[in-house]
Symmetry: C2
Subunit: 148 residues, 2 copies
């Protein structure tokens, strides 16, 4: 593959990622969850299963512990998460989503589905699945850079 083709692929990928980010953000806001930024969404993704510590979150987002801590302050203040004592480590605190945090996560899923729907109209269900599978094979679950 020539350099210019690789560049076209890269540009297209980044353009789609940018639009998707924007669309999800708007969709989440439209569902009544305001004052959030993309980074919050990525934080939710990390906290969703069983919660996590500030340090884990920092690693996941690729920022310092201090920045992650501020971000947690923010989502706690807005009612999306809460800090609990960590069951195994008295130094640490376990940050878990509140019900509102879960609701926001579901809203993000809906918004994502809404954003992706037109792709199926454009390419067909089959090809969209192929797209997803290809991308999943490229980045099994890489750490996610805040874009949203």
């Amino acid at each position: 593959m020539q350099n210019s083709e690789a560049m076209a692929l890269s540009a297209a990928l980044l353009a789609v990622a940018g639009e998707l980010t924007q669309h999800i953000h708007d969709g989440v806001e439209a569902r009544g969850f305001e004052g959030l930024r993309p980074a919050h969404g990525f934080a939710f993704a990390r906290l969703a299963p069983d919660g996590g510590t500030v340090t884990e979150l920092a690693a996941h987002l690729g920022v310092t512990k201090q920045a992650a801590s501020q971000l947690v302050d923010e989502i706690v203040r807005k009612g999306y998460a809460e800090r609990r004592p960590h069951p195994d480590d008295a130094r640490a605190r376990l940050v878990v989503l509140t019900e509102r945090g879960w609701a926001c996560t579901r809203a993000a899923e809906e918004a994502a589905a809404e954003a992706v729907r037109p792709w199926a109209d454009l390419l067909g269900e089959r090809e969209v699945r192929a797209l997803r599978d290809g991308l999943l094979r490229i980045a099994p679950y890489g750490p996610i850079k805040p874009i949203w």
Copy 2:
């Protein structure tokens, strides 16, 4: 397509975009072009063909004119572009890439090719092209959000 599948697709797309951005950035740096950020790359993409004005650049990047102007200051100071009087409008200035700016653009293409190469090993040339074509149909040439 279910919400959770759409979310998986979105997450994969954003993860790949993040990795790609990082890889291109590193590749450009490794080729001797330092002190640049993703936003600069997107600016280059807009300026490359025939140059452009600060206002056009601002629209392309989705930031204010002032921010775009600062960014131009920066790439001018670092020798990647220069401001010329605009041929048709005495208010405006045409920002064009210098030879070093073009060299940097070529370096970015090489880095992109390098980043994409492993995908072909993983999926095959054919599927990578399908990926590119699918993405290009989704975002013909949407404005690009600074991610790099």
